[in-house]
């Protein structure tokens, strides 16, 4: 429920029309975005690992990053402020720009199913 709320809030924040929960965003699209190569060949998986239910490792510092999948890490995607903060930082690092609301919605639709 909380995750669904985050999806709605993101849509509202972006100024796009507030859609019914789930509409307009789809998980397969999110999966594609997750695997899309960014600047200097960077990938989400560089730090988060290829297995979302397992912890990742910061590509530069080696610091452990807890699993992305809410099914094994219930705190994941549960705090809207945190979700927005990390989208901002990590989209910039990986793709060299902020993610659009549409991209964030797709990514969340996919990640929240994991």
């Amino acid at each position: 429920m909380k995750r669904r709320l985050i999806l709605i809030s993101l849509t509202a924040l972006s100024g796009a029309p507030v859609l019914a929960a789930g509409t307009g965003f789809n998980a397969p699209e999110g999966k594609v975005l997750w695997g899309r190569t960014g600047q200097e060949g960077r990938l989400c998986a560089d730090c988060h690992g290829s297995e979302l239910k397992a912890p990742g490792k910061h590509v530069k510092t080696g610091k452990r990053i807890e699993a992305m999948a809410p099914s094994v890490n219930p705190g994941r995607l549960a705090d809207l402020k945190k979700v927005e903060k990390w989208f901002k930082r990590n989209c910039e690092w990986t793709w060299g720009r902020e993610c659009t609301a549409q991209e964030k919605g797709h990514l969340l639709a996919w990640l929240s199913q994991q």
Binding site: H58, K60, T61, G62, K63, I65, R89, W93
Partner: protein, 186 residues
């Protein structure tokens, strides 16, 4: 009576251990002080925001490892944080800066902090802990094959990889275990 004897033995036993573990370090107060919790190398991190914002990506270096001017340099240059963008919203950045500055090496009386600050007086303000005179002096004998060329370590910047108690602010060399090489006597 029996209980008292047992208690005394335990206390003596631990004193002995502490004495052994720190016997060749002449720079700090040891023994009983360590037992009482005063033998800390640097104060452990005591700010939840700092731990969360900075410690998510790298070891949350204790503020007592660098002097105030180094922390200020780091916090005003977060846009290019050793090659990465680590910008923070202003209120969060200010809060973290205040914490780091207030507990910087030159404002702390704990353990190694005064020594770190003292060794820097003639230098500039290195942004990397690994570039401080104190750090270099303490690590110069560690060969590259154990750190940079060691795939399990890779860099000196990940304190906790070898310093097993780093997070608690303890950097005693007897607690060092280098992955693939073991403790210092191996």
């Amino acid at each position: 009576m029996k209980k008292t004897l047992l208690a005394m033995t335990l206390v003596l036993g631990s004193l002995g251990t502490v004495h052994w573990a720190t016997a060749d370090e002449g720079e700090r107060e040891h023994g009983l002080l360590s037992l009482l919790g005063y033998g800390q190398d640097v104060d452990p991190v005591a700010n939840a925001t700092y731990k969360e914002e900075c410690g998510s990506c790298h070891f949350a270096y204790q503020p007592g490892l660098l002097p105030e001017r180094s922390w200020q340099g780091i916090m005003t240059g977060l846009k290019d944080h050793f090659g990465d963008n680590a910008e923070l919203e202003q209120p969060v950045r200010d809060q973290i800066s205040q914490y780091l500055v207030a507990n910087a090496a030159d404002h702390s009386a704990t353990g190694r902090s005064p020594g770190i600050a003292k060794a820097l007086t003639t230098e500039g303000a290195p942004l990397r802990i690994t570039e401080t005179a104190y750090f270099r002096r303490k690590h110069h004998e560690v060969p590259e094959r154990m750190v940079k060329e060691n795939p399990q370590v890779k860099s000196f910047s990940q304190c906790q990889t070898c310093h097993t108690k780093a997070e608690s602010g303890s950097f005693d060399e007897h607690q060092v275990e280098i992955p693939g090489f073991g403790g210092r006597h191996h």
